[in-house]
């Protein structure tokens, strides 16, 4: 067990020294404490070099202590759980944590890719647009693979994510992002007022900057105020505090996205638990109290490990009791940076010097320097000596022009603070410039959202509390809660003075975007080449496009651009802020919907019976349908299907057709209504009869087909295809509610109410007589073709019988209430044993419909007209119906349209394939003679050869013509004869018999 943590303070901090956690970084074992992040634990162990930059592979250390971190990115965990680009600054330490540095080879210390630095004079912004163009073939073969390998950062696991995710909803009156002083004060005010409150905190601890910076609130130390406040919030019934939860996006209508890292602080999620959970939060009001992000100053060598944001440095010291350096220099342009000096001194660390860009450092700070014995240098840091092992020496340009050097092993930098405007700007609102803090503050926030505290540009503790509290009270009130918010918490406001400083000109690479290696010189180059617009700048240099989303770089980059192009910063403007505010695992957005749960599965009532029969299933939309029922000894599916077809055509079989959409159309105007939606007439259909109907879209193309039966004067039972069940219901409701509101008609989907089976074959009646009440007349006279009525079954169950046929055989469809579907199918098997009854699947169904020339999905493909399908004569000319007028347009009635026709290979042994094209015989296939294509094919057991349907130009006029089937994809070319699409029993005698 490793216990030594050389850079750990012996006391203080919010870590639990009694819980020692071992972890590994790049194969080396270290120890940290409960309460550490990976970054703080690495710092406590004296690790300075944590990563390599994207382009130049420069050594990089930890820069920040939060989600804005550009440098300290690691591959966290191993194997299938490896997570690339994980910010060490937000990764919670746990026992057994394993992390590895990225983007280096063979090792972090000895990264051969660092050779890129030699070429860095050429690898400027956008260099790749100017080269790698010759020879043309080399891009994919040589340059691109090399660039791709070099680019990217961490490695994804490359195997399925073993963890689970889920998604959930929450609703509240007031949603608060951030648990710093402003967020907690907002929660207090809103909660006390009686509002339902949700507060999301990114961190695992509540308090925001208070955790590191402390202070006095209501006369007590911040830590005590936090615990008091949390206790009060816990006592309120409708306040929910969520840690490890980041609000990442704002969507329309007060919907917010948040990600909860439920179990990322453990090696793996406990059983039955998820790794992360996506929250969709609906809130009447929201308050962004997400704080501010300290901004770097751009100077040469600012990426040397050991250069750190001042606030981060004091977070490590004060919150984690870890010392990034022993002898610290500060480079600041504002008062806040000085707090790091105070924190370092409190921890017993040395201050090498303070380089303050402002001439007018406060008396208090001067007194501190004098008392402690460090120098205040008015000037700028112009260079850093050091490397992989950190900062050694800092060069300073003094205000008077002289130079100075200071030895230090750490440099804290504060360029001021940028309010976190990501959330308030996520509806393309542009933040506005505020001069006194030289920063953008929220403006144009989405409706019902306000910012408070540092996120709103208020940097003093007292101001944060005041703003947060006021925002919380106002939000609760406007959400309809008028309870008293009580007294606001009170604290003093620290002084904050700042002199803007973005960039110290000088020799050496000065980084703006650390992760993407964008330097100040790159911005100058972009400007020189005309990429002055901030969006062009971003795109040309990739500034701000890294995993930190430009949180530390964007404003500095545009400030430098502003300076070069002689514009003000607000004139230069910001780029669009895009969600998510922090990167979110794709798995969380999918939640439960992956693998077999990607979409729901629909099962018919006979499903489990079919499983018992060994059926092979096919996905049809969401349905599982029995495709065929193989029997032992059958060598392939084709043999099975041929058996099933023959059994039907010679005896009797049945097929589950419960997946058809079924709609009750009720009401006195039901018939007239159907006349409007079908091309043919239904109002004159007799009760007890069924009719095939075809409906069009309003553009005149065929939409769907099916049989509709009239069960009573005011009750039709309409069926749709399986695929269109939902859309047709929506369409019919549109017709009912919007287009034809004058009709008294009601629609109800009864798809799931009925288990429906097609029973087909010459012995159908024999089989039915076994199960239908003997009193029912099933004779041709008593139940003629296209008859439809309710019957009783033996045993008292009522069923509906429809004498309709898709197979072309003597057939009935029978439907029973769905919970009897399983019993029906078993009874059919029992009753049908003597007739050799054979269950058949969708494949045999398809074969028989092709043999009969019935059109189905492949022909009803949304681009065919009724006439194309050979059904043009069904179109009534005596009534208005949806699609009637547009169906008459010139191109839809042109004589050279592709129409449905049958095809047979001239070589009877030849197999057909759908998707082959049809060209005239003897011609070389080309775009000009591409006359159509094969839509449906099958091996016809009745004709003992392959047959098919095709859409062919003028096909019906060309019956008997030999054409050429051209299938270059599968390397097949053969002749086929165009023929009548009804291959079997063209007179239809069998189905009427």
């Amino acid at each position: 067990m490793i216990t030594s943590q050389p850079h750990r303070l012996t006391s203080g901090g919010l870590i639990d020294r009694s819980l020692l956690l071992n972890f590994r970084f790049d194969g080396k074992t270290f120890a940290g404490f409960q309460g550490d992040t990976l970054a703080s634990a690495l710092i406590a162990n004296g690790v300075k070099l944590v990563g390599r930059s994207f382009k130049y592979h420069r050594p990089r250390g930890i820069l920040t202590a939060g989600s804005e971190e550009p440098n300290a990115l690691v591959e966290l965990r191993t194997g299938a759980r490896r997570e690339p680009n994980t910010k060490a600054t937000t990764a919670e330490l746990y026992d057994g944590l394993e992390a590895a540095s990225q983007n280096r080879w063979p090792s972090l210390r000895h990264d051969l890719m660092a050779v890129n630095q030699l070429f860095s004079p050429m690898f400027v912004a956008g260099f790749y647009y100017k080269t790698f163009m010759w020879p043309a073939k080399f891009w994919e073969a040589v340059y691109e693979p090399a660039i791709r390998r070099a680019a990217g950062l961490g490695r994804a696991a490359g195997v399925a994510d073993p963890d689970h995710y889920d998604k959930t909803w929450a609703h509240c009156d007031v949603l608060i992002a951030g648990s710093g002083p402003a967020g907690l004060a907002a929660a207090l005010a809103a909660g006390r007022s009686g509002a339902r409150v949700i507060l999301c905190e990114d961190d695992f601890a509540l308090g925001g900057r208070l955790l590191a910076d402390g202070g006095t609130i209501d006369g007590v130390p911040a830590a005590e105020w936090i615990s008091r406040t949390l206790a009060e919030l816990a006592s309120l019934p409708d306040v929910r505090i969520m840690t490890r939860t980041t609000l990442f996006g704002v969507y329309d209508g007060g919907t917010y996205g948040a990600i909860e890292r439920v179990n990322d602080h453990l090696p793996s999620p406990p059983e039955h638990q998820v790794r992360q959970r996506l929250w969709r939060i609906v809130a009447k009001r929201s308050i962004v109290a997400a704080g501010a992000i300290e901004r770097p100053i751009v100077f040469a060598g600012n990426d040397t490990p050991g250069v750190m944001m001042a606030s981060a440095m004091r977070s490590y010291i004060a919150r984690y009791a870890a010392t990034p350096a022993k002898r610290i220099a500060l480079f600041t342009n504002n008062d806040d940076g000085w707090r790091t000096v105070e924190a370092a001194l409190d921890a017993g660390l040395q201050i090498a010097a303070v380089v303050d860009a402002r001439p007018d450092v406060s008396a208090a700070h001067r007194a501190l320097a004098a008392k402690t014995g460090f120098a205040i240098l008015n000037g700028f840091v112009s260079g850093v000596d050091g490397g992989k092992d950190g900062v050694r020496k800092i060069s300073i340009s003094l205000a008077g022009g002289a130079r100075a050097e200071v030895e230090a092993d750490g440099l804290a930098v504060s360029g001021g603070w940028n309010p976190a405007v990501g959330l308030t700007s996520s509806h393309r609102g542009r933040p506005k410039w505020q001069d006194d803090i030289s920063a953008f503050v929220p403006d144009g926030a989405p409706p019902d959202m306000v910012a408070a505290g540092a996120a709103n540009g208020a940097f003093g503790l007292g101001a944060c509390l005041r703003q947060g509290f006021a925002a919380g009270a106002a939000a609760a009130q406007s959400a309809g809660h008028s309870g008293s918010a009580g007294t606001p918490p009170v604290a003093d406001d620290e002084a904050f003075s700042l002199t803007p400083l973005w960039h110290v000109a000088g020799k050496g690479k000065a980084f703006v975007d650390y992760q993407h290696d964008v330097t100040a010189a790159d911005i100058e180059l972009a400007q020189r080449e005309g990429f002055e617009s901030v969006e062009h700048l971003k795109r040309y240099t990739t500034l701000g496009m890294a995993t930190d989303q430009g949180k530390t770089s964007n404003v500095a980059g545009l400030a430098i651009m502003a300076a070069i192009s002689g514009k003000s910063i607000p004139e230069t403007g910001t780029t669009i802020y895009r969600p998510p505010y922090v990167p979110v695992a794709i798995g969380a957005f999918a939640g439960h919907h992956r693998d077999e749960n990607f979409h729901a599965t629909r099962l018919t009532p006979s499903h489990h019976w079919a499983v018992e029969q060994g059926a092979v299933f096919v996905d049809t939309g969401l349905w599982k349908r029995a495709q065929w029922y193989p029997r032992a000894g059958e060598k392939d599916w084709l043999e099975t299907v041929i058996r099933e077809v023959k059994a039907v055509r010679s005896g009797v079989g049945f097929c589950d057709v419960s997946t058809l959409g079924k709609i009750d159309v009720h009401g006195p105007d039901a018939g007239t209504f159907l006349d409007r939606v079908y091309i043919n007439t239904f109002s004159n259909l007799a009760v007890g009869k069924a009719r095939y109907g075809l409906m069009l879209r309003e553009d005149g193309m065929v939409y769907d087909d099916g049989t509709t039966s009239r069960l009573a004067e005011d009750h039709y039972f309409l069926t749709t295809t399986t695929a269109k069940a939902g859309p047709v219901m929506q369409h019919l409701e549109f017709c009912r509610q919007v287009l034809f509101p004058q009709f008294d008609v009601q629609l109800t989907s009864v798809s799931d109410q009925w288990a429906q089976f097609s029973i087909a074959g010459p012995k159908t009646r024999d089989l039915l007589r076994e199960i239908v009440d003997p009193a029912e007349d099933l004779s041709n006279e008593g139940f003629p073709f296209m008859g439809a009525r309710e019957v009783s079954l033996r045993g008292g169950i009522r069923a509906r019988l429809f004498r309709i046929s898709f197979s072309g055989e003597m057939a009935f469809e029978i439907s029973v209430p769905a919970r009897y579907g399983d019993a029906l199918v078993r009874n059919l098997m029992l009753a049908g044993k003597q007739f050799g009854v054979t269950p058949y699947g969708t494949e045999a169904l398809g074969v028989m419909r092709i043999e009969k020339g019935h059109v189905a999905g492949p022909e009803l493909n949304g681009t065919t007209t009724a006439a194309d399908l050979g059904l043009g004569k069904m179109m009534s000319t005596k009534k208005d119906f949806v699609g009637r007028v547009m169906a008459g347009r010139e191109a839809l009635v042109a004589p050279d349209r592709q129409v449905v026709v049958g095809i047979k290979p001239t070589d009877r042994a030849r197999r057909l394939r759908s998707g082959a094209h049809v060209v005239p015989k003897g011609e070389i296939p080309g775009p000009a003679n591409d006359q159509g294509y094969v839509t449906s094919v099958c091996f016809s057991p009745m004709l003992d050869q392959w047959i098919g349907l095709a859409l062919v130009e003028r096909g019906r006029e060309r019956i008997g013509e030999i054409v050429h089937a051209h299938d270059p994809l599968r390397g097949e070319d053969y002749d086929v004869e165009l023929c009548n699409p009804v291959f079997y029993d063209p007179d239809g005698g069998r189905q009427r018999g």
């Binding site: 209508g253 609906v282 939902g726 547009m886 347009r889």
Partner: protein
């Protein structure tokens, strides 16, 4: 987006389907090809407040006429289609 269904109350976007512009009215029987063409194909495609048909298919199956700003997605009114009928929830 959240839509306040006049019958169900406020609901999540995922329960609804948008059909599009509600301004074009289906021409009466006997209309010319040009009139029907206009109805089926031509759109004002307004950048601003537009009237649209939406279907609450994931809820009460009412067709709604919604006035929505296509620049901001803000919804200013939701009315049932003519053929829906029935009492509406308080707004």
């Amino acid at each position: 987006m959240r839509i306040v269904c006049p019958f169900c109350g406020e609901r999540e976007l995922g329960e609804f389907t948008c059909l599009g512009d509600a301004k074009p009215l289906r021409p009466a029987a006997g209309a010319s090809e040009d009139e029907v063409f206009d109805y089926v194909y031509l759109r004002d495609n307004i950048a601003g407040e537009a009237s649209e048909h939406w279907y609450h298919g994931g809820g009460c199956r009412a067709w709604l006429k919604i006035t929505r700003n296509t620049l901001t997605h803000e919804i200013s009114s939701v009315e049932p289609a003519a053929g829906v009928g029935a009492r509406q929830v308080a707004k």
